[in-house]
């Protein structure tokens, strides 16, 4: 009798909740579970009520008596962040700058069919692929919202992914630092990524693909970049992990061409075209330790080296650093300190891709970076980032940048 009464109650509730089917189903489940906890219903009765409710809702939907959130919305997941920044710049012989900046990003991922997804994201900023910042200026000018990435991901196997379109670079080319790639750059082209466990606490990482750098309607020798990367993650005991990796980049048809968004610090001819190829070998190594100290649970050393095989001089770059604190800064109270030193010679790498905050993204520079991050609450992170960099060759000019960030993720 009480079961019938409850089913009747549920039916009555259904008729007044046309537009909130999913939250309604959740509320009925909570209600029914409470009744089980209090011993009013037994679990089998509860299950029958829940199944009847679901089946009634399905019937009502089938007859068009209820409306639902469209299926394509249900298949999507969203995420985004807002970063508020105060930035101070000081460069020798130039005036100091104080800027208020912000960055907004919104991304989504949708299941198209089984094993195929589409991801896309929008961001603030201009056309520069190395920055999504918007500086507060021009009397409240309405800024642009741009396409940050739009790609397809096909996963025919659990360990194999294919990406096509404008993809998130970090999902394909994994780096332990921004020596070569600014963290805002998302790449265009296609790539395969393999991530497979080999047993013995070892994961194998492989990626390869081709990136389209430019296209000309009057020239068939368009610049492209072929890349391949291989690495392993080797866990030693419960406390240590070692990640050696090596990447090879072959920027094809860039010699004799000029690339958009270049800082023009690579070697150029009289027509402002690049005089070298960029065939860069890039080994990296990470050593991470999970410590027994509760205040500093994580410590890591990392480094990387890059060498462009075409020129004979000014063709090397390197970076080394350490970090400690928490491995990730997400939950309230978590923190991390990071220090890096780097040198990137004039023709070690294309000055179109390197970190735009480190001496404006130029090559032929060296210097240090210090980062401190602290989570004020879950997904609310306060960060301090200080750069001190200078040109390698005379005249040596030093640049300092301090960024104070409040990052809010959702």
């Amino acid at each position: 009798m009480k079961t019938k009464f409850l089913i009747l109650m549920v039916g009555m509730l259904l008729t007044v909740t046309f537009n909130a089917i999913h939250s309604f189903a959740g509320e009925v489940e909570i209600l029914v579970n409470k009744l089980v906890d209090k011993g009013i219903l037994n679990p089998v009765e509860a299950q029958i009520i829940m199944d009847e409710t679901k089946q009634t809702v399905a019937n009502e939907l089938a007859q068009g008596k209820l409306v639902s959130v469209p299926g394509w919305v249900q298949k999507m997941t969203f995420k985004g962040d807002l970063r508020l920044r105060y930035q101070w710049n000081k460069k020798e012989a130039k005036v100091e700058r104080h800027r208020g900046r912000y960055r907004f990003r919104l991304g989504a991922k949708a299941n198209v069919v089984d094993k195929v997804k589409v991801g896309f994201g929008f961001c603030s900023g201009g056309t520069d692929p190395r920055s999504t910042n918007q500086t507060m200026r021009n009397t409240f000018e309405t800024p642009d919202l741009r396409l940050d990435y739009a790609y397809m991901q096909w996963s025919p196997k659990a360990w194999l992914d294919f990406y096509g379109g404008k993809s998130k670079r970090k999902a394909i080319i994994r780096q332990n630092s921004d020596l070569l790639w600014d963290s805002d750059i998302n790449i265009e082209g296609s790539a395969f990524v393999i991530n497979k466990s080999c047993g013995m606490k070892t994961d194998l990482l492989l990626s390869f693909g081709s990136l389209i750098l430019d296209e000309s309607s009057s020239d068939i020798s368009d610049p492209v970049m072929y890349f391949s990367q291989a690495g392993i993650i080797w866990k030693i005991g419960n406390s240590f992990s070692l990640k050696p990796a090596i990447a090879f980049y072959d920027a094809y048809n860039v010699k004799g061409d000029s690339l958009d968004h270049s800082e023009e610090t690579n070697s150029l001819d009289s027509n402002d075209c690049l005089i070298y190829d960029y065939n860069v070998v890039n080994p990296e190594l990470d050593l991470a330790v999970k410590t027994s100290c509760s205040n500093v649970p994580y410590f890591a050393l990392f480094g990387g080296y890059a060498s462009n095989l075409d020129p004979d001089e000014d063709n090397e770059g390197y970076l080394y650093g350490l970090k400690f604190g928490d491995k990730k800064v997400k939950k309230k109270g978590q923190w991390q300190f990071k220090y890096t030193y780097r040198q990137l010679e004039k023709d070690a790498w294309l000055d179109t891709f390197s970190d735009s905050d480190f001496y404006g993204g130029k090559t032929g520079v060296n210097g240090s970076e210090v980062i401190l991050q602290y989570a004020l609450a879950k997904n609310v992170i306060l960060g301090f980032d200080y750069y001190c960099s200078e040109k390698i060759n005379a005249p040596v000019v030093t640049e300092e940048i301090l960024q104070v960030d409040l990052l809010l993720k959702f």
Binding site: T3, P43, T77, N111, D203
Partner: protein, 292 residues
Amino acid sequence: MKRCLQVLAGIGLGLILTTNLYAREMVQIKGSDTLINLVQRLSEVYMEENPGKFIAITGGGSGTGIAGLINGKCDIANASRLMKSKEIKQANSRKITPKRIVIAMDGLSVIVNDRNPISKLTKDELGRIFRGEVTNWKEIGGEDMSITLYGRQSNSGTFVFFKEAILKADYSQKMNRMNGNAQIVEAVKQDVSGIGYVGVGYVKKVTGLTVVKVASASGKKYISPLDAEDVKSGKYPITRPLNQYLNGIPKGAISHFIAFELSEKGQRIVEEEGFFPIPSEYSDFNNKNLGM
């Protein structure tokens, strides 16, 4: 002449057999991989006892069975999940009136390799594992090794049920999608880092696996799906009814077979096949749906 007589005799025998087959009442059953072994056994015993009757059973997953019922390709759809609104709409448009009955109870079982020390998990932990939010066993108190997920394909009712009951979101993209329960059992037996979910009927007599105890929430009691009383009473957190869908109130051979499945003898076979008999609440539910 002798050869001609032999051919004619052969044709005659063939005609007699064919006519005899058509004279037998045939019931077509299609659907759930979880239910196929159980219903196969039920039909074998039923046909032994009823020589004039013939039951044909195929698998393909709950989705395939329900599609078969809608398209008139079968009389009974085995389903380990409920029908979706889209399917009901299709059925209605073809003048099919789906009726649901419950023939057995299943404690959907989470399995790991027996070399993995993990033996109990909460529903929340299971959700995080299969959504891909937890990727290493050490994050939930196990050894430092990556988690390998084994689940079913999207046409499976078990795939849908586990997703709705546990994940409440999408499965991890990294989950290996296997054809059936038996393939998941084999994969987890061979993979020390593996975890999968299967009907309880597939794990009762298998070695090399640990059947994980599950709690509805942190702090609540961990319960094994091998405990018949806890599954029958619904206390095991991933208890589910195993269903059959029919077109309207059954008559004739279909009704006769359903009555056998729900009889004492039928329910004993359910137990012999590793599942659990339906409790009285579901008997009442079936009687109501069958108009009894």
